[in-house]
C-alpha cells in the first residue's frame, strides 16, 4: 500500500542529502520524493511516498524526526488529503493519428503544450492512478520521452500549517545529560 508522508524541513544546504542518506542507511524503500518551497521562507516541504508493505511508516517518521533539520512530519494516511502528480509526455504523432490523440487528451483533461511534425508534448496533472491510466492509453502511439514529478500532497481543512513552536523548542524542554557529580 502506498503511504504519503509530508516533512517540513529547514531550507539549508545538505538537508536533502541527509534525508536521502537516512533512507539508504535504514534500507527504507521510497517510491517518490519531491522537494519544494512552502509559503514560509526558510522552510521546504518534502512529499515522501513509501510502500508501507515493505517499509514501516512509523519507523520512517521516527527516524526523520531524529534529523535535526526536520521540523515536522505528518502522515497523510491519518487525515483526508488531496494529492497530485504531474507528467510531461512526448508521444509519436502523425497526420493520421493526431485527431485520435487529441480526443484522448480531451477525455483525460490533459493539455497539448507543443506540436512537432512527428510528435506532440502533452501535460497532465491529477492523482497518480489517472496519470497511470493516461500513460497506458498513450503507449500504443509510441512514447518517446516522459517525466513525472512524483506526488505532492496536502491535508484538507483550514488548520494553520505549518504549526510551529514559536521559539524553537530545545532550550527549556530537552533534558541535559546528567553529570557524574549527581551519580557518584
Amino acid at each position: 500500500m502506498k503511504h504519503t508522508l509530508v516533512a517540513l524541513v529547514e531550507d539549508k544546504p545538505g538537508v536533502l542529502n541527509r534525508v536521502a542518506s537516512l533512507f539508504r542507511r535504514r534500507a527504507f524503500n521510497i517510491e517518490s520524493l519531491t522537494v519544494g518551497h512552502t509559503h514560509t521562507p526558510g522552510i521546504s516541504r518534502m512529499t515522501i511516498v513509501i510502500d508501507s508493505t515493505q517499509t514501516n511508516a512509523e519507523r520512517v517518521t521516527a527516524n526523520l524526526y531524529k534529523l535535526i533539520n526536520v521540523i515536522q512530519v505528518d502522515d497523510l494516511a491519518e487525515m483526508p488529503s488531496v494529492s497530485r502528480d504531474l507528467a510531461i509526455i512526448k508521444v509519436s504523432a502523425n497526420v493520421a493519428n493526431r485527431g485520435e490523440l487529441i480526443q484522448l487528451v480531451d477525455v483525460f483533461r490533459a493539455r497539448i503544450v507543443d506540436v512537432g511534425s512527428e510528435s506532440l508534448i502533452v501535460e497532465i496533472t491529477g492523482v497518480e492512478e489517472k496519470i497511470d491510466g493516461f500513460v497506458d492509453v498513450l503507449r500504443p502511439f509510441g512514447i518517446i520521452e516522459m517525466v513525472r514529478t512524483g506526488i505532492v500532497a496536502m491535508a484538507r481543512g483550514s488548520d494553520p500549517y505549518p504549526n510551529l513552536p514559536s521559539n524553537g523548542n530545545g532550550s527549556v524542554a530537552v533534558k541535559e545529560l546528567a553529570t557524574l557529580v549527581d551519580l557518584v
Binding site: 537516512l22 531524529k66 524553537g168 523548542n169 530545545g170 545529560l177 546528567a178 557524574l180
Partner: protein, 567 residues
Amino acid sequence: MKGTGAQILWESLVREGVDTVFGFPGGAVLPIYDALLEYPIHHVLVRHEQGATHMADGYARASGRVGVALATSGPGATNMVTGIATAMMDSSPIVCITGQVSSPFIGYDAFQETDVTGITLPITKHNYLVTDVKDLGRVIREAFYIARTGRPGPVLIDIAKDAQQASMEWEPDVSPIQLPGYRPPQEPLSADLELALNLIHAARRPVILAGHGVLVSGGVNQLREFAEKTRTPVAVTLLGIGALPASHPLYLGMMGMHGEAWVNYAIQEADLLLAFGMRFDDRVTGNLQDFAPEARKIQIDIDPSEINKNVSVDLALIGDLAETLDQILPHVEACDHGEWNEHIDEMKSESSQRDIQNMPDYGRLYAPHVVHDLWKYTHGESLVVTDVGQNQMWTAQYYKHEKPYHLITSGGLGTMGFALPAAIGAKFARPEAQVWAVAGDGGFQMTQAELSTAAQEGIKVNVAILNNGYLGMVRQWQEFFYDRRYSSTPLHSPDFLKIAEAHGLTGLRVTRRDEVESAIRQAEETEGTVVVEFRVEAEESVYPMVPTGAALDAMIRRPLPSHLTIE
C-alpha cells in the same frame, strides 16, 4: 570584541566549560593551533586521530561532560571516523572539530580536501560545515547542545581555513538556542502510565532490563527505588553495568550473548520485562522469535525510533528514564516476588558449579581468574576501560561494579583499540580515579602508540594485557563453529615489557596466579603508566555463549568439572 574564527572557536570552547582537547595538528588547522596558545585549555597531543576520538569518548563517559577532539582536514579527519562511529553507537557525547580547505577551494579536490561532513553524515547525531566566520559562534553552541542533550551523540564541525582566519566583531551569544527541528522528548501520557502500573502490579515474574539509558539519564537512584519497592530483579546490558550496584541483592548480572545463564533463563521465563533505556541489541535478545515468549514488555526510552525496532512492546513510554520513573514511583505499590526471586537464586547456584572461579586452576593462569583478582585487589573501585573481545567479556562478567560509568567499553561498534586511548581520556576526566585499561594482545597493538601520549603527558593509567597469543574471540568462534580451523587468529606480539620500557614506562609480566596480586599492587603504587602483561591460557573460551541466531536460553555452557560429571 574583535576576533578571528580561530579565536572565536577557543573562546566558545572555554565558555562551554572545555578544559581539555585531544588533537593532532596539520595544515588546515594551523590558525586554530596558533590561537590555542592564548587560551586556558590543555591540548593533549595524540599519536593517531582515532586515539583523539576515543580519548574524547572516554573523557565524556567518565565525566558526563562533552569530550572534544581536533584534527586537520583530509587524512586527519578520516582517521577520526572509527572513533566517531564508536561514539555514535554508544550514544556518547563528543564534539569533533576538523579543519577544511579554504572555502573557494572546496569541491576542487584541493590538497587534503575530503568531504568529511559527507563521510560522517550517517555516524554523527548532526554535523556542520562552517565556511563563514559569522556562523561559527552559533554553530559551536548548537553542537555542544545537541551532543549532550536528549539521546547524546557525536557532533562534527568542519571549519574552512578561511573562516578560521577571517576576523569579525563578535559578542558571545547567550540567547536561547533556536533549533526548530530538535524535538524535546515527549511526556508520557497519563493513560499510559496507568496502564504501566497495572502491568507492573499484575506481574508475577518481572525482570528489569537496565541499559545505558539509566546511566545517561542519571536515574540510578530511581531504578534502585523502583526495584526495591517492587522486588523486581535487575538484569543489565553491557553498557548498563553500574546501573545497580553488583552487590545489591536484586542485581542479576549481565544478560545476552555472554550474559549469565540464570539471567537469560530468567528473561525467557519472565511474564513482564521492563526495558529501561536499552535498545534490544541483537547481542542481548538472541533469536527474536524466541525472545521472552511469555513476557509482556514495557519500554521506556528517550528515542521514539527505538520503540518496536527489534522487539515489539506492549507499551512504550517515551521520555527521559529518570523523569518517567519519577512520575511512576509515587503510584507504585509494594510487591513481593519471593518465589520468583528464590527460583532465580536456585538457577544461580546451579550455574555457580560451572563458574571457573569455583574451579581449581591446576597451576595455570586463566584470564577470568586474572580479572577476578583485579576486582578483588582493587576493591572493585577502579574505573575499568576495556578493549574488545574475550578480555572485554571476562571483564564484564568478573569485575563487579558498584557505580555507574566505572566500566567504559565499546559496546555497539565493538572497536578494537578502544581501551588504551579511552582510558587516557577517562583519566583526564577523573584524575583522582585509579584507571585500569584491560586489553587483549591484539587490540592493544592497534593503538599502543598512545603509550607515547601517556608518557608525554605524564599521566597514569594501568594497562592489563591479557595475552592469549590469539585474536581470542575470533578463535573461539572458529573453535565452536569452524571446526577449530584457526585461520589468521594466532598472533605474534612484541615484548610488551620492552615496549613499555622504550616509552620510559614500567612493564611487568605475570605468568602465574600467585604473582597476580603483587603485580596489581605494584602497578598501582608505581608512578606513571604501567603495562602489565598477563600470559594467560591460550585456548580458554568465554562462557556461556548464545550462538548467533539461537534463542537466549540455548546457551553453550562451560562443561562441568570432571568430578561433577562422573555420576
